[in-house]
């Protein structure tokens, strides 16, 4: 949102002969430019008038001409000489009669500030190249935005692909680790099974040995 201060109407300005900046604006855009400004200015004036009326309800009445000046700082009938330059107010933030009234700069000083004339403005045969059009500006902005969005999408895609690749690698590594662990577990099981078989054989051998040796031991005991 741009904030602007509308300035007093001026009747004439003195300028040098340097080429001016120009903008080629469609008729419809020009109408909107003027209409929007006028509408916002009217809103601003209505708001000011409304606020002043509220103040007038509680303050003692003031002389009508003073009141009008307060409400309508824009006076269309301000007399400004045709010759001369109206410099900006010294302190535009402070509204005072001195600021509202035009200050005329002496002609001699004005002349000194002028740039040496360089001749009349020459419009080339193909004037389009000399103009900035709003359409071109908006198109350039749009193009910039599209480029920025495309760059962002491209970067996002690259980052996403990198993330996917990295995640895939991590998943593969995890699967491989799981496979290794499974193989190690299976080896442990096999070892345990082999040990159990050896234990069974030893146990059976012990039983057989006991069966075989028990009668002999009994006979040996009796012989004593």
């Amino acid at each position: 949102m741009t904030n602007i201060n509308c300035l007093n109407n001026i009747k004439s300005v003195k300028t040098n002969d340097a080429p001016t900046k120009k903008l080629a604006v469609s008729m419809e855009q020009t109408d909107r430019l003027v209409a929007n400004l006028q509408e916002e200015l009217n809103n601003f004036r209505s708001l000011n008038a409304s606020q002043n009326n509220e103040i007038n309800n509680v303050l003692p009445p003031v002389a009508p001409d003073v009141l009008n000046d307060d409400i309508m700082p824009f006076k269309d009938d301000v007399a400004i000489p045709q010759e001369g330059i109206i410099p900006p107010p010294n302190n535009p933030e402070i509204k005072s009669p001195e600021n509202i009234a035009p200050v005329i700069t002496p002609q001699e000083e004005v002349t000194n500030t002028l740039v040496e004339p360089v001749g009349p403005t020459i419009i080339p045969n193909n004037p389009k190249s000399e103009f900035d059009t709003l359409e071109e500006q908006i198109n350039a902005l749009s193009e910039t935005l599209v480029n920025e969005v495309n760059e962002a999408i491209k970067k996002y895609k690259t980052d996403l692909n990198n993330l996917i690749t990295e995640s895939k690698k991590k998943i593969d590594n995890t699967i491989n680790e799981a496979k290794n662990l499974k193989e190690q577990a299976m080896n442990f099981v096999k070892d345990a099974q082999a040990a159990a078989q050896v234990a069974d054989v030893a146990r059976q051998n012990a039983i057989n040995l006991q069966k075989e040796q028990a009668p002999k031991a009994l006979e040996l005991e009796k012989s004593f």
Binding site: N5, L7, V25, L33, P87, I123, K128, F131
Partner: protein, 93 residues
């Protein structure tokens, strides 16, 4: 604004043009034109079906062409804002 204004050149030649707008901005995000009166006038020319507007800024007591590209860019952005109704009048001088 539909006031007429007389543009007086150093040669003494006078040209009457319609004022489109006369404003200034105090926004800090427009450092190159902050507090400087900007005058937009109708050049009374048509270019490729478009109306040609002329821009001046007040420098050293004289309204003169905006010879600063950064300032010119800020002025154009304000014009775009006004056309898009993305602006507010905050005070009058």
């Amino acid at each position: 604004m539909n006031e007429k204004i007389s543009i007086i050149k150093p040669s003494g030649e006078t040209e009457e043009k319609k004022v489109i707008s006369h404003f200034k901005t105090m926004d800090d995000d427009k450092p190159n034109i902050k507090g400087i009166p900007i005058l937009i006038v109708d050049k009374n020319e048509i270019n490729n079906g478009n109306k040609v507007l002329e821009f001046y800024w007040e420098k050293e007591g004289v309204y003169q062409p905006i010879n600063d590209e950064a300032a010119w860019g800020e002025v154009k952005s304000i014009v775009v804002d006004i056309i898009k109704k993305n602006f507010k009048i905050v005070g009058e001088d």
